[in-house]
């Protein structure tokens, strides 16, 4: 083989080898990066799941503690106030003083009942979610903060178990709080529906409009939104926020197998 032929062979083989190597490097980089990215996503998902589970546990513990405190307030302080009232009746006091003390005790009792009710709404335990939501909307209406209406399209007493009822009640409470605090709304409608075996809870307002992104939901500051998401997940449902045109927001909560929860 002469010098030129040798150069040509080296050139062709070398070029083929180099091109193969370059292609191999590129394919390897793409494949490896994809694997790395998939692994990282999997880890992020696992971390997110663990966070949600932790949040669930925290929320459950919080509810348990609130229930205990509500009972303590009702049974302990409530009974003590009643006993105090009875003692004062039997005391030799001027009638005017007795009335004054009695009024004070009544005011304290009302406060204790209110706090106890906020901690664990007795109506929710006694009469179920529908009655509790009706009362909640009535309370907001009475406070003349916002014109709040409640509707439902079914007559069943209770659709969910106690835990699910409490979770949904807390979600509505949190959403209404957010509307009062930030939305500048004048009207809110809470609606419960049963459609094709699906349970739908809708909260619509005519405020400035709010549609949180995935980023907003994962922000460290948005604990309320995270709590809502976690509670909805607890009951096996989904939640969607949608900005309405020209103004307002609709929050749709959907539970497919509501009988399970």
């Amino acid at each position: 083989m002469d010098g030129n032929a040798e150069i040509e062979v080296t050139l062709l083989l070398g070029t083929a080898a180099m091109l193969t190597l370059a292609l191999f490097i590129i394919i390897f980089v793409v494949a490896y990066q994809r694997r790395l990215y998939a692994k990282q996503r999997e880890m992020n998902d696992m971390e997110m799941q663990a966070q949600l589970e932790l949040m669930d546990a925290v929320l459950l513990a919080k509810e348990k503690e609130q229930k205990r405190m509500a009972q303590e307030l009702h049974d302990g302080i409530g009974s003590a106030l009643t006993a105090l009232k009875m003692s004062i009746i039997q005391m030799n006091l001027v009638q005017e003083h007795k009335k004054q003390i009695d009024d004070n005790i009544k005011a304290i009792s009302a406060d204790v009942r209110r706090i106890s009710n906020e901690l664990m709404p007795s109506v929710l335990e006694d009469m179920g979610l529908q009655a509790a939501l009706e009362r909640l909307s009535q309370r907001i209406q009475d406070a003349a903060v916002i014109d709040c209406k409640y509707y439902r399209n079914y007559e069943l007493e209770s659709l969910h178990n106690d835990q699910a009822q409490l979770a949904l009640y807390r979600v509505v409470q949190e959403i209404l709080n957010n509307i009062i605090k930030y939305a500048k709304a004048t009207e809110v409608i809470i609606q419960e529906e049963l459609n094709d075996g699906k349970y739908l809870l809708t909260i619509t307002d005519n405020g400035t409009g709010f549609e949180p992104s995935e980023k907003d939901m994962s922000k460290s500051g948005s604990l309320g939104l995270k709590n809502i998401k976690s509670r909805i997940q607890q009951v096996g449902g989904t939640i969607e926020y949608r900005k309405l045109s020209p103004k307002g927001t609709i929050v749709n909560i959907e539970i497919r197998d509501y009988e399970k929860h």
């Binding site: 010098g3 030129n4 150069i7 040509e8 080296t10 050139l11 070398g14 070029t15 180099m18 091109l19 190597l21 370059a22 292609l23 490097i25 590129i26 980089v29 793409v30 490896y32 990066q33 994809r34 790395l36 990215y37 990282q40």
Partner: protein
């Protein structure tokens, strides 16, 4: 139509894309546009020399001398930390080597083989540093949508395919074997298409 002419004209594809997308491009891809404009200018200059029957090897020297610093300028933006320093050192080393090669081994009438394969080694390192960065930094969601991936992939294929051609260029020219330059022309088309894709991805990303 001759493949060398087609290949020379394909520089218009990234050039036009850069012109259309320029205001949407980030700082790094604007630097890529400068490189594309420089490549187009050297193509025009080479064609002008060729049409007048002048010997145009000096343009190859000029191109190789400016090409690596321009691409280094680009990779300096893409890379982070110590890799950036490596890009600067490699470029300075390359320029020194180019000057030495020009003075002692390959004058302006000869094909600049030494300079070209030194350039290929430099560019290979730039691409390798970029790939290493990808492995360390897993932020890129889909690599095929990353404009810098297309720059590095097309540059890598071009230098891999032309390395041996440039090493033996003087011998091939001396023996009158010009057919092998088709390889350079074909790979140049791929390079221009890769750079166009990069600009397009950059424009999409910014929108």
């Amino acid at each position: 139509m001759r493949i060398d002419i087609i290949s020379a004209f394909t520089i218009l594809i990234p050039l036009i894309t850069a012109g259309i997308a320029y205001k949407h491009l980030n700082k790094t891809l604007k630097k890529l546009s400068v490189f594309i404009l420089f490549s187009a200018c050297t193509e025009v200059l080479a064609a002008f020399y060729s049409m007048n029957g002048w010997y145009n090897m000096s343009i190859s020297h000029l191109y190789a001398f400016i090409q690596v610093p321009l691409i280094a300028w680009l990779f300096h933006d893409i890379l982070k930390g110590i890799s950036r320093k490596a890009v600067i050192y490699l470029t300075v080393g390359y320029l020194l080597f180019s000057v030495i090669s020009l003075i002692f081994w390959e004058d302006l009438d000869q094909f600049n083989s030494n300079q070209r394969y030194a350039a290929a080694i430099c560019l290979f390192f730039f691409c390798a540093l970029y790939y290493i960065q990808i492995f360390i930094d897993t932020k890129i969601m889909r690599i095929e949508l990353d404009p810098y991936f297309w720059i590095s992939a097309s540059v890598l294929i071009y230098i891999a395919g032309t390395l041996f051609l440039f090493i033996y260029a003087n011998e091939l020219i001396a023996s009158g074997k010009f057919d092998y330059w088709y390889l350079n022309n074909i790979l140049n088309i791929f390079l221009n298409l890769g750079l166009t894709l990069s600009l397009w991805m950059g424009m999409r990303k910014s929108k």
